[in-house]
Symmetry: C2
């Protein structure tokens, strides 16, 4: 069973926004056993949308579109769908009531005719109510195929996919079972891992696939399988993972799925009833953001100091100024002092600290662009490592975040 | 002149990664006058890649691919390109030397035959050297059309686009001029803006387009134009913007381009020689991350406290515990006290503070899910506002970040 995703909007084709919708939809479809054959992004242009719809119809059974459903003139998806299905627009009373309710309850500006037009939908579609916005989801049948049009606003689209699209697809089709397991590794390159597990990879059953997903210091290994017999696939996956893990034990940190390294850290700390604090210089709060974007962080995360300025490291975090003067602000000694200071200030079991020069200029610091020091203070020891993450600011910051999380998890697992 | 982007990789089609490459490439192509007709994401599958290449060839003059160039078995782009062009692989000595240099200089593991195979390229392509990784960029000619294959790792791809692809495209083709101007607005909905500027929109010249890009409390208005006469387009754009701005003066905060609201804040503070600190609870460090991801933040940003835990608000930030007990931790009073405390602790001219319940559970707090309070302390006053941003954690956090930046900028511009 194949699906195709079409994301509609000039803003995608000129690169003004990154299309995050198709990744979400693809992931959710995979979970219910639907493979995505292709993702296509097209402009708000009738001819192009019609062409993409015709091509998608020839490739897939399920076609999901997002975007182009706003109230303004550049949004033409509904009119185009009318043309594609030879349909016309009618006012849907339930949608109209929803639009009026949303304006009354949440929106400060008065409702206009433009807003009310959001209740116009092609007459043959089944409407899926959008709790968070004025544009409804629309479900069309054409022969054996299903066409679904969703709003482009990510959280509106996500709620419709979860609450309406997936349950309705399950009722409409019988799906094969797709299983992915992703093993998260830190510290070894893609090809070094591939060399090490070559025999494992060559002996994979034909319905299994292995992929390497390298990203700034971590490599994810994804095993994928597909078939009609759920139990058999799960058993086979389990056996393969039991074969694989001993071969990568030194670099394996956990499974990714709903899990990421920061949720694994959170789970470990909560289980141990231990706590964490942070002192971030060149990572600027990004480690803290990673930790707190998952709910439940308040159970183990006491907080952090974003000490971008040297004076903040001294005055607020409490690092001894003489250490900074003696070794320079980007030094193992300062990173260690920062981790120790944060651990003490926040009274936590662990503290991670980062200091470095993310670039692009050398600035006042002695450190070269890309030079960073990362320390983790734990219950029994303080570890510190230094790196040169190169001359690309975004990459230096992201590698720093990944490396700090890796060092932190390894230290937690030691205790 | 049309281009098409093909991103290759199973990880995109199963939603494991978000394709950020195509947005970057599309933006860069637009700058030199090339419109992107379509973006297509396909699996690491020979048949599919060949089909996408053939379709792209019929739509566009410039076809840019990313991905599938790694050393492992799942990467098949090079072999597929050989088939597409009827070509065969040869070893490129310069690439081999680069791979060997990268391993010697930056990589801890010894080089393997798999790594050396990265130097195999189709014989008819022109190689573009990749300074940051082992997979080179490749440039193919087929009649009047150009096919370009780039590595999927974003920072490697970006460097190749900037240093090789764009200059070579300029040498090869003559491009029309494309101009985008994006006006950043905060505080009014998409359709309310559309109503207000309807006459302006209806009177736009035929080579101009206006688009509305709403996103969690901000709406970007993008004016796009295309033509061969650069000067005429720039003059016309200038006149239109001078017409538009007076109509949206109350909600307009600046132009987006290279600019975002946080870079506008940074520029304003640097110009005024003023400083900023932060106290973030439910936003967890994300405002700080936004501020510090741009270089030069050290000129005005002294730092912040991520005070996710109530005890951190009291013990480290210095908020009076009696205020928290009297009003609850999510309250205007606590937000104000946090901003005032941060401003004093860091000795800054401005401080922004956030407190709220991002959900998904109510937790120990009295506050409902989605309730947030945001305060900004400035040189002469402290402002505070409260909101209910709904029951979606990610959305609550992102709306909180946007709103805090909006309030901060407005307060800076008042003084």
């Amino acid at each position: 069973m194949l699906a195709e995703i079409i994301t509609i909007g000039d803003e995608i084709l000129i690169g003004q926004i990154i299309d995050t919708n198709s990744a979400f939809i693809a992931k959710e479809l995979n979970k219910i056993g639907v493979s995505v054959y292709q993702i296509t992004s097209v402009q708000d242009d009738k001819t192009q949308i019609l062409k993409a719809l015709a091509e998608a119809e020839s490739n897939a059974n399920i076609i999901i579109m997002t975007g182009g459903l706003g109230p303004t003139k550049d949004d033409i998806t509904k009119l185009t769908l009318c043309e594609f299905f030879g349909d016309h627009m009618v006012t849907n009373k339930e949608v109209l009531a929803n639009v009026e309710m949303l304006f009354e309850k949440y929106i400060n500006t008065p409702i206009s005719d433009l807003n009310r037009k959001q209740a116009l939908v092609p007459s043959t579609c089944t409407v899926m109510m959008n709790k968070y916005g004025t544009a409804p989801g629309m479900w069309f049948k054409k022969g054996e195929k299903v066409f679904i049009s969703l709003p482009g606003v990510p959280y509106e689209m996500k709620a419709l996919v979860t609450n309406e699209v997936l349950p309705n697809l399950r009722k409409t089709f019988k799906f094969p079972y797709i299983l992915h397991k992703t093993l998260l590794t830190y510290g070894l390159g893609e090809s070094a891992i591939a060399n090490r597990i070559e025999a494992f990879e060559d002996s994979l059953p034909s319905n299994f696939k292995l992929a390497y997903l390298p990203n700034l210091g971590k490599v994810r290994l994804r095993l994928s399988a597909k078939g009609m017999d759920k139990k058999a696939i799960e058993d086979q996956m389990q056996r393969l993972i039991e074969l694989l893990i001993p071969q990568i034990e030194d670099i394996f940190v956990g499974f990714e799925g709903e899990e990421t390294i920061e949720t694994i850290i959170g789970a470990q700390l909560k289980e141990r009833r231990q706590t964490l604090s942070l002192a971030e210089s060149f990572t600027g709060g990004k480690i803290s953001e990673f930790i707190t974007k998952h709910s439940g962080a308040s159970k183990f995360y006491k907080g952090g100091i974003n000490c971008y300025a040297t004076e903040t490291k001294i005055n607020i975090l409490g690092v001894d100024e003489t250490i900074i003067k003696a070794y320079g602000v980007v030094s193992n000694e300062v990173a260690k002092a920062m981790a120790i200071a944060a651990k003490q200030l926040f009274q936590t079991d662990y503290a991670a600290a980062t200091t470095g020069n993310a670039g692009p200029e050398k600035g006042d610091e002695q450190a070269e662009v890309g030079e960073v020091c990362i320390a983790v203070a734990g219950p029994s020891q303080v570890i510190v490592e230094n790196f040169n993450f190169g001359n690309h600011r975004e990459k230096v910051i992201d590698k720093g975040v990944n490396k700090a999380l890796e060092m932190l998890l390894k230290e937690i697992l030691k205790n």
